[in-house]
Amino acid sequence: MEVSRHWRLKEQRYSLVGETCEHCGVKLFPPRDVCLACEAPAKELYTFTGLGEVYSYTTVYDAPAGFEHQAPYTVALVKLEEGPLVTAQLTDVDKDTIQIGMPVEMVTRKLYTEGDEGTIVYGYKFRPSVSATA
């Protein structure tokens, strides 16, 4: 059981809470307190919209323990509209239709289960943007 580890990430996993750099304005996800771009302190919280596009993607066949039942699954780098890249699975999508540049939006899904009696870990995944596909 790794309860505390998942609990302390709840704002990020469920709501995409990151930070904004007061000095240069860059938005940061995940939060890291020191700006990636200008190295100034960046501790002001910022909640991302969850909208972005696919920057790159891979379909994983050789899965690690905990993910073997999901394989093959697709992991992407999603470029959020505010700028940062996020590593996340794509969901609710036919893997053969995924393209770089495809608009996506954040949804909450089960990430994995820690065995039969362990924690069920939920968090963000991304699906094709509903507004773009309607």
């Binding site: 580890r5 990430l9 990020q12 995940p30 890291r32 990636l36 771009a37 920057y55 790159s56 993607y57 891979t58 379909t59 994983v60 066949y61 050789d62 899965a63 690690p64 323990a65 905990g66 993910f67 073997e68 999901q70 093959p72 699954y73 992991v75 992407a76 780098l77 940062p84 890249l85 996020v86 590593t87 996340a88 699975q89 770089i100 990430l111 994995y112 870990v121 968090g123």
Partner: protein
């Protein structure tokens, strides 16, 4: 300041060593390196290892291996930097010897991948990623390299088949190395048809993990001159870091730590790329070979793959790489890989590379990466003219 030189080398073959424990594996390489240097004791031992705590339930390797090698009492410690652990351990030996605080140091890189099999091994390998923000999403080191490769192909207009030359070259060289995990040749047309691991990376693109150990004896250059006929000077040594997570890179297709460590190591050695006769790079996946060639400066950005296409990376090419098979064919024993690279370059510069020999090799460069370059270690090796 002292210069540091290699006076002894040893290595095991890379394969599934079911019958050998991690301590024995390390000892076989150490025994060979001590024999080669014709000494029996050293002042300090630096162990490069990535996964023993997870896969063999064995931490505390410094003391364990020092004791098992008959050197109980010496300073000994494990250095962990993902799959760059081996070269990071060598870097510690260089610092120790050059400082004058350690006279003779032993470096051993050892990895025992096969004490477990299947998905737990992939999970252990994924612990070198950002656990909270990459591995928690099901990413693996190969998957992250695949994200890099897909973007590389997209931005530079490169086809999957254009990477085949890296694997073909590695296997051609591995076929001449009896210690290599794979000694079969690979046909270019098979590359794109191989089963997927993490698309677009396939089984013939990613390096196989294997068990192995390699060792080096390092001492002051002046002392080395009296001890062995052909000491290999460690003329440049630099370690640089970048973000662990690929998503935190402002410029994902540029391996900044690889570029920084190479520039520093070359400057220390007072050599330029034109002087480098061979380059052992970190071809855990073909895209990392291309990006390493670009970061170091052998190719412009987006053009590293062209060196493979144009036959420039072969034993007689402009810049031979993976001369004993590289990670792809010799095998990738994780935290031992960086020490294998150094052993192989020492064999080349001593003129003892047998069927893998690069003619008249005088300057060799090794670059070992962790993941997609969160850690990058570059060493430049030279031999004195005879």
């Amino acid at each position: 300041m002292n210069a540091a030189s290699i006076i002894g080398i040893g290595q095991t073959d890379v394969r599934e060593h079911w019958d050998t424990s991690i301590r024995h594996l390390a000892w076989y390489a150490i025994e060979a390196a001590l024999d080669d240097a014709q000494i029996s004791k050293v002042d300090a031992l630096y162990v490069g290892n990535m996964l023993a705590g997870q896969l063999s339930h064995q931490n505390h390797l410094g003391a364990l291996i020092a004791d098992f090698s008959g050197m109980r009492g010496i300073e000994a410690v494990t250095v962990e930097a993902g799959d760059a652990s081996g070269s990071a351990a060598l870097r510690q030996a260089v610092l120790a010897v050059k400082s004058g605080l350690v006279d003779t140091a032993l470096v051993v890189g050892v990895e025992k991948m096969t004490d477990q099999t299947g998905t737990p091994v992939t999970a252990a390998l994924s612990s070198i990623l950002d656990a909270d923000y990459e591995a928690a999403q099901g990413a693996t080191p190969t998957a992250v390299a695949a994200l890099l490769m897909r973007r590389y192909m997209h931005e530079y207009g490169v086809a999957l088949a254009d990477f085949a030359g890296f694997s073909v070259n590695a296997h051609a060289n591995g076929a001449s190395n009896p210690l290599a995990m794979y000694q079969n040749r690979l046909k270019a047309e098979r590359f794109t048809a191989a089963p997927p691991v993490a698309t677009p990376i396939s089984l013939f693109d990613v390096a196989p993990m294997g068990d192995g150990a390699a060792a080096l004896v390092v001492t002051r250059h002046e002392r080395a001159m009296d001890m062995v006929p052909r000491p290999v000077r460690i003329a440049g040594s630099a370690l640089a870091t970048d973000t662990v997570a690929l998503h935190d890179r402002l410029d994902p297709l540029w391996l900044k730590a690889a570029a920084q460590s190479a520039a520093k190591a070359l400057a220390q050695a007072h050599v330029t790329l034109a002087d480098v006769d061979l380059f052992e790079l970190h071809d855990a996946c073909t895209v990392l070979a291309a990006l390493s060639l670009e970061a170091v400066g052998f190719a412009e950005r987006g053009q590293g793959w062209q060196l493979a296409r144009d036959g420039e990376i072969g034993r007689n090419g402009r810049i031979p790489i993976s001369t004993f098979g590289g990670l792809k064919a010799r095998g990738n024993p994780g935290g031992a890989t960086g020490v294998y690279q150094a052993v192989e370059i020492a064999r080349q510069l001593r003129g003892e590379a047998e069927a893998c020999q690069v003619v008249n090799a005088k300057v060799g460069m090794a670059q070992n990466l962790a993941g997609v370059g969160g850690t990058a270690v570059t060493h430049v090796f030279t031999v004195d003219e005879q």
